[in-house]
C-alpha cells in the first residue's frame, strides 16, 4: 500500500509537470490554430539557457529569470512573429511541417553547438525526502506538484476572472466576433504565445532534474504533452491538467506493476483508447467541423 501511495504521489507530480507543457500546447492551438510539434524542444531550450546562465556564475533563481526573459522573447515573440504569422494564410498543415522542421533544427543546433551529452541539472527543492505515515515523499515531488498546481490554477483564474483573460478566451472561441467586439486580437494572441513561453520554462525548471538536460529530452516531454492535451480534451484547459495527471500516474503504476520496459507506451495506449471512446477527450466538448 505504501508503495502504491508513493507511486501515486510521484505520478501526480510528474503528471502535473506534463500538464503545464500540455496546457501551453492547448492554449496555442485554441488561440491561433497553431499545432506546435516543437513543444518538446520548447522545454529543452530553456533548460539549456538556464545551464548556460548558471555556467556563467548565476544562481539557479537568477538563471530561471534569465531563461524566462529569453523564452518570452524567442519562443514567444520571435516564434510568433517570424514563423507563425507569415504562415497564417497557408493553413495548419504548413505550420505542422514547419514546427517539425523547427524541432529537428533546434535539437541539432543544441547538439552541434553545445553538447550531445546529458547534463545534470540542480533541483530547486533539493534532493531530501521526508516520511509521512510510512510513505517516503521527496521534497521535489511536493514542490513540483505545488508549483505546477499553482501555475495551472493561477492561469485558470487569469483566463476566467480578468478582462484580458476573458478577451483571450473570446479570441480562442471566435476570432472574427472577438475582433468585431473591439478586442485587440493580435495582442491577445501574443499573450498566448508569451504564456506558453512561461509555461515551458517552468516545465523545464521542474522536469530537467529528473530528465537531465539533453538535446533530445524534448522528444519524450513533447509527446507526453500532446497526449495529455488530447486525452483531457483539446479544447478545454482543465483537460490538460487531468490528462497530464492521468498519464503521469498510469505510467508510474504500469512501470512498477506491469513492465518498466513499456512505461513510455502508456500515453499512446491511453490516447488511442480515449479517442476510440470519446474522440473529443475526457473533458472536451465536440468541436464543430469547419468547412
Amino acid at each position: 500500500m505504501t508503495d502504491f501511495l508513493q507511486l501515486l504521489i510521484s505520478g501526480i507530480a510528474t503528471g502535473s509537470i506534463y500538464a503545464m507543457a500540455a496546457l501551453g500546447f492547448t492554449l496555442l492551438w485554441q488561440a491561433s490554430g497553431t499545432i506546435n510539434f516543437a513543444q518538446g524542444e520548447f522545454v529543452m531550450l530553456p533548460a539549456f539557457s538556464m545551464l548556460i546562465a548558471m555556467a556563467m556564475g548565476l544562481p539557479l533563481w537568477a538563471a530561471f529569470v534569465v531563461a524566462l526573459i529569453v523564452s518570452v522573447l524567442v519562443l514567444g515573440m520571435a516564434f510568433k512573429r517570424f514563423i507563425v504569422d507569415p504562415m497564417r494564410a497557408s493553413g495548419v498543415i504548413s505550420i505542422v511541417v514547419a514546427t517539425l522542421g523547427l524541432s529537428i533544427g533546434l535539437k541539432s543546433f543544441v547538439k552541434a553547438g553545445y553538447s550531445a551529452e546529458p547534463h545534470p541539472f540542480p533541483s530547486v527543492f533539493g534532493d531530501e525526502v521526508f516520511k509521512l505515515a510510512g510513505v517516503t515523499i521527496s521534497y521535489s515531488d511536493v514542490g513540483a506538484l505545488l508549483f505546477a498546481g499553482l501555475m495551472v490554477l493561477g492561469l485558470q483564474l487569469f483566463l476566467n476572472k480578468t478582462l484580458t483573460g476573458r478577451a483571450m478566451q473570446a479570441v480562442a472561441q471566435n476570432t472574427f466576433s472577438a475582433e468585431a467586439l473591439g478586442i485587440n486580437v493580435k495582442r491577445m494572441i501574443f499573450y498566448t504565445f508569451a504564456i506558453n513561453a512561461i509555461l515551458v520554462t517552468v516545465t523545464a525548471l521542474l522536469i530537467t532534474p529528473t530528465y537531465l538536460a539533453k538535446f533530445d529530452m524534448g522528444d519524450n516531454i513533447g509527446l507526453k504533452a500532446f497526449f495529455a492535451a488530447i486525452i483531457g480534451g483539446f479544447n478545454n484547459s482543465r483537460g490538460a491538467l487531468l490528462g497530464g495527471v492521468i498519464v503521469g500516474v498510469l505510467e508510474n503504476l504500469v512501470g512498477a506493476y506491469i513492465t518498466p520496459s513499456y512505461k513510455d507506451g502508456v500515453a499512446l495506449a491511453l490516447f488511442l483508447a480515449v479517442i476510440l471512446v470519446k474522440p473529443d477527450g475526457l473533458l472536451g466538448t465536440p468541436a464543430e467541423r469547419k468547412v
Binding site: 499545432i35 510539434f37 514563423i83 507569415p86 504562415m87 497557408s90 495548419v92 498543415i93 504548413s94 505550420i95 505542422v96 511541417v97 514547419a98 517539425l100 522542421g101 523547427l102 524541432s103 529537428i104 533544427g105 533546434l106 535539437k107 541539432s108 543546433f109 547538439k111 552541434a112 553547438g113 550531445a116 533530445d216 522528444d219 509527446l223 500532446f226 497526449f227 488530447i230 520496459s261 513499456y262 513510455d264 507506451g265 500515453a267 499512446l268 490516447f271 488511442l272 479517442i275 476510440l276 474522440p279 468547412v291
Partner: protein, 325 residues
C-alpha cells in the same frame, strides 16, 4: 499511361545514369547509392500518404524497421527473402490499418500524434524484446538474397536488384495514382468534404493511402536489412521518421519525383558535407521552416511558381496597357 516526350527523355536519361553510375563509384559510393534507392522507395510511399492524401505520418522509419526486422528474423529462420518480403510488406500494411483507424475517425492531424507515439512504441519493442529482435545488440549477418541459384551477394548485383525493385515499385505507384483510386486520393487532399459529397468514402481512402504508404516503408526495410547486413533499433527512430517527412516536403509533396530529390538532399548531400554533420541537420531543419514560409510546395514547385509569376506579370502588363488605352 502516356508520358510527354520531354518527361520520357529525362526519365530515360536518369535511368541510364543510374545504370552506369556504379562503374564510376567505389564500394562506399555504391553502398550510398543503394541506400538512396531504399530511401526513395520509402519516401515514395510516404509521398502517397502525405503528398497525395494530405496526411501527416510520423512513423515511417518505424514501419521500415518492422519490414527490416521481419525480413531479418524470417531469413534467420531459414525463410527465403522472396517469401519474407511479402510478409514484411503485408505486416506493415496491416499495422498501418490498425494504427490509422482510430486516429482517422477523429481528425486528420490526430494521425500525426498517433504515429509519433507508435514509432516510440516500436522502438521500445525493438529494444526490449531481445528474444525476437536481439535488443540493442540487433541482428547480425543478414544474408543477401538469391534467385534461381544466382546470388545477389555482391554489392553491384545487389545494387541492380534494388534498382529494379525501385523502378517497379515506382511504376506501380504511378499506375495507382493514374487510376480512379489515385484521383480519389487527390480529391481527398484538396477538399475532403467535396470528395465525400461526390461519393468518395473518406475514411476508407485515407486509411488506404496511409496503409499503402506503410507497405512501401516495409518494402524499403526488407531491402535495408540485407543491404547493411546488420540491424539494430537506432536507424528506425523518431528522428528518422521526421527526416522522411522532411524529404517528401523538401522535394515537393504531391510531386511524383519529389521524394527522389528530397531523399538525395537528406542522404547524399550530408555525406559530402561530413564536416558539418550536426550543423547540417540544424540548417536543414531551419531551411524547412523557411521553405514552408516562402515555398510551401517544395523545390519541385519552383518551376510552377516561376511560370505563375511570369503569367501574372504578363497579365498585369496587359491590364496596365488596357488601362492606359
Amino acid at each position: 499511361m502516356t508520358l510527354s516526350k520531354q518527361h520520357l527523355a529525362l526519365l530515360t536519361l536518369g535511368l541510364a545514369a543510374l545504370a552506369i553510375a556504379p562503374s564510376l563509384l567505389k564500394t562506399y559510393g555504391l553502398y550510398l547509392l543503394t541506400l538512396w534507392l531504399v530511401y526513395i522507395i520509402a519516401a515514395l510511399g510516404l509521398n502517397l500518404t502525405v503528398g497525395y492524401a494530405g496526411l501527416k505520418s510520423l512513423c515511417h522509419a518505424g514501419f521500415m524497421g518492422v519490414g527490416a526486422y521481419t525480413v531479418a528474423i524470417l531469413m534467420k529462420a531459414g525463410v527465403s527473402f522472396w517469401l519474407a518480403t511479402p510478409v514484411a510488406i503485408s505486416l506493415c500494411f496491416v499495422l498501418g490499418l490498425l494504427i490509422g483507424f482510430p486516429a482517422l475517425r477523429v481528425q486528420l492531424h490526430y494521425l500525426g500524434f498517433a504515429t509519433l507515439g507508435f514509432n516510440l512504441l516500436l522502438m521500445l519493442f525493438f529494444r526490449n524484446e531481445e528474444w525476437l529482435t536481439g535488443g540493442t545488440f540487433g541482428i547480425q549477418n543478414i544474408k543477401r538474397p538469391e534467385l534461381f541459384g544466382f546470388s545477389f551477394n555482391g554489392n553491384l548485383a545487389f545494387y541492380y536488384l534494388a534498382l529494379v525493385i525501385t523502378v517497379v515499385s515506382a511504376a506501380l505507384l504511378a499506375y495507382l495514382l493514374r487510376s480512379p483510386w489515385g484521383r480519389a486520393f487527390a480529391a481527398l487532399r484538396d477538399n475532403p468534404i467535396r470528395a465525400e459529397s461526390t461519393g468518395v468514402n473518406i475514411t476508407a481512402y485515407t486509411l488506404m493511402s496511409f496503409a499503402i504508404g506503410a507497405a512501401y516503408a516495409g518494402l524499403a526495410g526488407a531491402l535495408f536489412a540485407p543491404l547493411v547486413n546488420f540491424i539494430e533499433p537506432a536507424p528506425f527512430g523518431l528522428g528518422m521518421s521526421l527526416l522522411f517527412l522532411m524529404m517528401v516536403v523538401v522535394g515537393g509533396s504531391g510531386k511524383f519525383y519529389g521524394p527522389v530529390l528530397g531523399s538525395a538532399i537528406a542522404l547524399l548531400l550530408p555525406e559530402y558535407l561530413r564536416f558539418a554533420k550536426d550543423w547540417y541537420l540544424a540548417i536543414f531543419g531551419f531551411a524547412v521552416v523557411a521553405m514552408m514560409i516562402w515555398l510551401p510546395g517544395g523545390l519541385l514547385s519552383i518551376r510552377e511558381r516561376w511560370l505563375l509569376h511570369k503569367a501574372k506579370t504578363a497579365s498585369d502588363k496587359t491590364a496596365t496597357n488596357a488601362g492606359a488605352v
